[in-house]
Every structure is written in structure tokens, then in C-alpha cells.
């Protein structure tokens, strides 16, 4: 899926600018320099988000026409402090800047974007970019903030000292990019000769020398150093306070969590009802039985079971992007680093793992904030162990059917306690697995150092936020539309064929491949206390965990599907022992029962390998847990 997604095909816009004639301008800059805001201001909705071939680094390009009528293609490159690439994202920046990536991204001009209120590190990057041999333009962004803080930069002197054109810009204000656009016109109209690159990865001595040179330049051009951002200092006194900071973080997370669950619910119900209605409509259409079932149970139910997560993903990314734009995300990583580090995880793994309580899919997508590949892989591996919302229907069904509704210790409901225990098992499991992975797989105790800049707080821009959410939602739908849908169809085939013979009395699924598989694996699942009916239900349950509830209903021939959960519960109480029920709960904590999650892991890690690793380690854990629970419970007389 390396094709591009058109964010907003401009209806009736003047014909698309041909990429042959368009000049390519690459935006490079430190993290948090406002590069993306500038990109958004320059291109508006005329953006494309895709992946660079073979890697999962986002490739963001956009079109713009300068006041002088020049067509420009802008490439927004991942933020970096140096061309000395340390992560896949930074490798892309290096390769594009050096012109090593063939295709449509070889830049005619490099625009280095710098935060005018924090020039020191940016100037070192500019000096490094000069060695690449391509024309460079320096854009001092966030000039408004710098001025407000009394920082006074002699732009002309800086331009003369660097030997480069320098402009100032305010990405977030209307007209704030006029100076930059005019300069682009001026620079691109000239004949641009590329010098041969004399860039090489600098060693510590060279880096130190370049930073000294940058510091010298800074002293030369800063007429007034200004003061530190007083707002950030005041906010950090509270938000980074060792105790208050963590309390506030937990409060923010609580609100976020509530929102993902509660605000999304009505929308999810609406989408779910919509697909059910549409499925019923197709189900009553005058079509051949097989086609009707394929459309209703395969395509519509399959797509619906994925799209239903869209509201959660949008709300979650609203919060993530909001906190990121505010500058708070780096602080959250700071506060959680020690706790996460104990389990071998990076401070930045915190938000993705938390998101996974709603759904592992947005959680895994959110691991993009982790720079180090190993840290990111570890987080992706354990994210599906967090108790996602799709497990809740299964947990609720079994708990309400088998766990007596009484109180223990006088005030705690036993059913709630079991639910809590299931969540706790998931968390402990995830932390244990990451700990083991870190020690055994990567064979390292130290791990990637935690080093990141805490940017000044900024007021988020609604437009930037909206564009970010839109891009994430589209990326999710595109994934849902391809890999996930094909898995859904496979599962439908397994559950529907062969069709029952004439005069069959049992439910149709009893004659299907799913039933054959269910019977075949019975010897394997017998030590877990699973009968073949459970085995069969686990197969459509691969589509989405909660589908198993409806499947159990089908197998035990109860009409009404999920709505009849109470009825299913009554039947199950008669059919299963307590040990079987507990074993199934244990199974569901760990089992890789979600095709969509596996598909997203494949996408995000760029291959089948890590998807397979996740599937088999989770399967092994689930089997061991269910075996242990069933055998212990049986020994205690619950069999």
C-alpha cells in the first residue's frame, strides 16, 4: 500500500500541476520547529500522505503555486537535529536531502525551517545543510513568538554571514508566509547550480566545531537575546512537579480514556446499527443465497466490524495530536520514563499502550512517536495484551453467566473484581513480555537513552489538528479496506462452506470448514476444557473478539445474536463447567484473536515476520494460561 492517499481532491480545481514541471522544495528542520504548521500553511488541503517504499515512514508532499505562478511540490521531511541519521525517519531526511532517493522527491531547493525563538541548534543544522551542495534557504519560523519574548534577530546580518537567503515567517497567521513565498519565487527563478556534496557523517570533533561556529553566528546576529518563555516556566513548575505532575497526567489520561469510551459510544452504535440495517436490507434482497450471505455476513459485516472503531480512533488521535501540538507529549514521556523504563519500555511507549485499552489498532499506529526501532517493536508486540474494548462483550458474557453477583469483603462486587483482575493480568502480562523481550531478544539492559527536547508550550491550531486527524482516519480506512477486509472474507468462507445438506437440522455453521477445524483441534484444546463449539466460535472470533459472542449464539442455535447475550449466558451455564469458563477468560486475555490487529502490525512493521512473532507468542501465552487455569480449577473441584 505504497500508493498515495489524496487528502482532498480539489473539486474543479485547475488541472493538477504536472510533477515534471514542478520544482521540488524539501522542508528540513529540528523537531518542534513548526515545520508541519508551515507545511500546512503553504499547501492547505492539497497534501498527500503516503509511505516511502519499503519503510513505514510517512511521506508528506503537497502542491502549491507561488504568487509568481510557479508550481512547487513541497516535501515535509521528518524532524532531525543532524543529517547523521539515527532512526528510519531521520534516514529518510538524510537520503532525500542528499538526493539518494530516486523519484519525485529530489529537492531543487532545501528550506531549513528554524524556530526563531530557539535558533542555536537550528543554526548548526543549517551549517551542515550547506555542505550538501544544494541551494538552501533559511526560514525563521514563529517570528511572532520570538518578538513577543524580546528576541531581536538581525536577519540581514545572518543572511550575509551564512551566505544564504534568510526570511522570517509566521506559519499560523494569515499572510505569515508571504515573505517566504516571494523568496521562493526569487530563488527558483535563478539558474540553480548544484555543487558536489562534501557532506559526510560528522564525528564528535566536527560536530563540536560546527556548534561553536553556530554559537559565534548567534552572538553576531542576536541584537537582544530576549527572555525565556515565562508561561512555559510557570506551567512546568506545576506540570513537571514530581508529584503534582503525575497526578495531572493521570487526570488528563482519565478524561482521554472516558472520552474514547463514552463519547465514541453513540457514534459507534450508530455505525453498527447502520451496517446491521444495511446488512438486513441486502439480506432480504432477491439474490442467490451464497451471494446474499457473502455480501451480508462477509463484506458488510466485515467492513462494519472495522469501521465501527473509527470514532474511537478519531477521538484518540484528537487527544494525542492536541497534546503533541501543545508540547505536552514530551512532558508525559518525561514523567512516565522511570516507570516504563522498569519494564524495559521507553517513556514514549506510554501513550500507545494506554490507547490500546480502547483498541490496539490506534495504539499500534501511535507507536510512531517512538524513534528507536527496537523500542517501537517491543511496544507493538505488547500493545495487543492491553485489554481492548472488544474483549469487554466476551468478558461480560462469561462473567455474568458464571461469576455469582455477590459482594466480597463487604463492599466489593465479585463480578467487578474479576473484571479488574482480567485487566490487571493484561497489564502485568504486557510488562513481563516487554521485560523479557528486552533482556532476551535485544540482549541489552541499558537500552536506548531517553533524550529529548521539551519544547515551549504552544497554542494548537485547529487547522493543523483537523488535517492531522483526517490523515490518520484515512490511513486507518485504507488499511481496513484492503488487508482487513480480505481476512474477513476468508473467515466468512471458513464459517459458511460447505453449505449444510438438504434437510439439515443443526445450524449451518456445524457443517462448515470452521466446524471441521473445531472438531479437528478438539484434542489440542481438550486440556483447556474447550469443547468443539468453543473452538468453532473462536474462528469467526478472529475477525473481532466480540464476534465470538454472536458465534456462540449461532452454534447453540439461539436467535437474536448479540442482543440475546443474556439468553446465551443461561445456555452456557448449563453447557460449560466453571473451569471451562475461567479457562476461556484466561484464553481471551492473551489470545491473538483479532485479524485487524495482526494486519496493522504487518503494516506498521513492514513485513510478516513481526506479525507472525506476535501471533505465535500470544497463542502460546493464551494456551499456557488457559491450561493452567483449567487444570487448577478442575483440581479444586470446579470441573
Amino acid at each position: 500500500m505504497n500508493g498515495s492517499v489524496d487528502l482532498a481532491p480539489p473539486p474543479g480545481a485547475p488541472g493538477p500541476l504536472s510533477s515534471q514541471s514542478a520544482r521540488v522544495v524539501a522542508l528540513v528542520g529540528n523537531p518542534n520547529c513548526g515545520k508541519t504548521a508551515l507545511f500546512n500553511a503553504l499547501t492547505g488541503s492539497r497534501q498527500k500522505v503516503a509511505n516511502y517504499p519499503g519503510v513505514t515512514v510517512e511521506k508528506k508532499t503537497g502542491q502549491l503555486t507561488t504568487p509568481g505562478g510557479r508550481a512547487i511540490r513541497i516535501v515535509d521531511l521528518p524532524g532531525t537535529y543532524s543529517l547523521r541519521a539515527r532512526s528510519p525517519d531521520e534516514e529518510i531526511t538524510r537520503d532525500v536531502v542528499l538526493g539518494r532517493l530516486s523519484g519525485d522527491v529530489t529537492p531543487d531547493l532545501i528550506v531549513c525551517v528554524a524556530d526563531a525563538s530557539n535558533l542555536r541548534l537550528a543554526l548548526r543544522l543549517v551549517l551542515e545543510l550547506k555542505r550538501v551542495g544544494r541551494p538552501v534557504l533559511l526560514s525563521l519560523n514563529m517570528m511572532d513568538i520570538a518578538r513577543k519574548r524580546g528576541i531581536d534577530i538581525d536577519v540581514e546580518k545572518l543572511s550575509a554571514a551564512l551566505g544564504l537567503p534568510v526570511v522570517s515567517s509566521v506559519a499560523v497567521r494569515r499572510g505569515g508566509t508571504e515573505g517566504l513565498l516571494a523568496e521562493l519565487d526569487r530563488v527558483l527563478s535563478r539558474e540553480m547550480a548544484h555543487q558536489p556534496s562534501d557532506w559526510h557523517a560528522p564525528d564528535a570533533r566536527e560536530l563540536r566545531g560546527t556548534q561553536r561556529e553556530a554559537d559565534r553566528l548567534l552572538q553576531l546576529v542576536l541584537r537582544n537575546e530576549g527572555r525565556l518563555d515565562p508561561g512555559t516556566a510557570k506551567a512546568d513548575a506545576i506540570l513537571l512537579h514530581p508529584v503534582a505532575g503525575i497526578v495531572i497526567l493521570l487526570a488528563i489520561l482519565f478524561v482521554m480514556f472516558q472520552a474514547v469510551f463514552a463519547w465514541a459510544r453513540p457514534l459507534m452504535d450508530l455505525i453498527s446499527d447502520g451496517f446491521t440495517w444495511f446488512g438486513a436490507l441486502v439480506g432480504s434482497a432477491p439474490l442467490p443465497e451464497v451471494l446474499r450471505s457473502f455480501l451480508k455476513d462477509g463484506v458488510i459485516a466485515g467492513v462494519g466490524s472495522v469501521i465501527v472503531f473509527l470514532p474511537q480512533i478519531i477521538i484518540l488521535f484528537f487527544f494525542i495530536l492536541l497534546l503533541e501540538d501543545l508540547g505536552y507529549m514530551a512532558r508525559a514521556a518525561f514523567l512516565m520514563d522511570k516507570i516504563m523504563g522498569g519494564a524495559g519500555l521507553h517513556g514514549r511507549a506510554f501513550i500507545p499502550l494506554l490507547s490500546s485499552f480502547a483498541c490496539a489498532i490506534p495504539g499500534i499506529m501511535a507507536t510512531r512517536v517512538i524513534d528507536d526501532r527496537r523500542d517501537r517493536l517491543t511496544t507493538i508486540l505488547v500493545a495487543p495484551l492491553m485489554t481492548c474494548s472488544a474483549r469487554i462483550p466476551v468478558y461480560t458474557l462469561i462473567i455474568s453467566a458464571f461469576i455469582p453477583d455477590r459482594e466480597v469483603w463487604g463492599f466489593v462486587g465479585l463480578q467487578g473484581l474479576v473484571m479488574f483482575g482480567l485487566y490487571a493480568c493484561g497489564i502485568v502480562g504486557a510488562l513481563t513480555v516487554s521485560f523479557v523481550v528486552k533482556r532476551l531478544f535485544w540482549r541489552t539492559t541499558a537500552g536506548e537513552p531517553f533524550m529529548l527536547e521539551l519544547p515551549d508550550y504552544k497554542i494548537p491550531q485547529a487547522k493543523s489538528l483537523a488535517l492531522g486527524i483526517w490523515a490518520r482516519a484515512l490511513a486507518f480506512l485504507k488499511r481496513a479496506g484492503t488487508t482487513i477486509l480480505s481476512m474477513m472474507i476468508l473467515i466468512w468462507v471458513l464459517a459458511s462452506f460447505p453449505t449444510p445438506p438438504e434437510g439439515a437440522t443443526e445450524p449451518a455453521i456445524d457443517y462448515s470448514f470452521a466446524a471441521t477445524i473445531g472438531h479437528a483441534i478438539e484434542p489440542v484444546t481438550k486440556p483447556l476444557g474447550f469443547n468443539w463449539q468453543i473452538n468453532v466460535a473462536l474462528i469467526p472470533g478472529m475477525a473481532a473478539r466480540e464476534v465470538a459472542v454472536g458465534a456462540l449464539g449461532t452454534i447453540y442455535a439461539i436467535d437474536g445474536g448479540e442482543e440475546a447475550a443474556e439468553k446465551i449466558g443461561q445456555v452456557l451455564t448449563g453447557q460449560w463447567s466453571l473451569a471451562t469458563a475461567l479457562a476461556l477468560l484466561a484464553w481471551y486475555i492473551f489470545a491473538p484473536q483479532c485479524a485487524s490487529t495482526l494486519a496493522v502490525i504487518r503494516r506498521e512493521t513492514g513485513g510478516w515476520k513481526w506479525m507472525a512473532v506476535t501471533f505465535f507468542y500470544m497463542l502460546a501465552l493464551a494456551y499456557a494460561a488457559a491450561l493452567l487455569v483449567y487444570q487448577v480449577a478442575t483440581a479444586l473441584g470446579a470441573g
Binding site: 535558533l119 542555536r120 563540536r208 514530551a330 518525561f334 520514563d337 541499558a446 527536547e453
Partner: protein
């Protein structure tokens, strides 16, 4: 705020400094951070890329709840979060001209 007179003219590792410490970077010494998560040459380059260069002014602004780790350090005009383990490679001193 600790009594800063005891640090006057004494070189210490940034990783051992208390909250509120202000000083100048006098050297980067990778031997000080032998248990860091990176080989010395790489750690040194990353520190420089984040602005830890001899002569830069630093102030230890915040620390975490558990074991005072990680720390947030003002380096010239930016604020950098890092662990004390890695900050041990940064030698600092309260020199002349530091308020």
C-alpha cells in the same frame, strides 16, 4: 535550593547535580557515563547535537519522582530531558560570571 557555595569552582557531573544547579559545561567525558545505553562516541555526538557543548550555560530545572530521574536541563535556550546515567558524561562547574 541547595547552598551553591559548596559547588563553587568544583567540577561535578551534571548527572549528580541537584535541582536548581546552575553552571557552565567544562567538558564532555564519556568515561563518566560508562553504564549509558550507547557507546561513548555515539553518546557524545548526541549530546552535542542537543547543545551540550563546552561553555554552554546549564540549569537543572526538574527531576522525576523516582530516584530523581530523569532530569530536565536548560541548555542555553532549549530544555532537554535526559537520564542522569547519560548526564554523567557532562562535566559542569559554577565558574566565573554565573549568577
Amino acid at each position: 535550593m541547595p547552598d551553591q557555595t559548596i559547588f563553587r569552582h568544583r567540577t561535578i557531573a551534571l548527572g549528580d547535580a541537584p535541582v536548581g544547579y546552575r553552571g557552565l559545561i567544562v567538558a564532555l567525558d564519556m568515561n563518566g557515563a560508562s553504564d549509558a545505553g550507547l557507546p561513548g562516541s555515539e553518546l557524545e555526538r548526541r549530546l552535542i547535537e542537543l547543545g551540550f557543548v563546552e561553555g554552554a550555560q546549564v540549569e537543572l530545572l526538574h527531576q522525576g519522582l523516582f530516584g530523581g530521574d530523569p532530569i530536565a536541563v536548560r541548555v542555553a535556550a532549549s530544555t532537554i530531558a535526559l537520564r542522569r546515567r547519560e548526564a554523567k558524561a557532562v562535566l559542569v562547574s559554577v565558574g566565573e560570571g554565573v549568577p
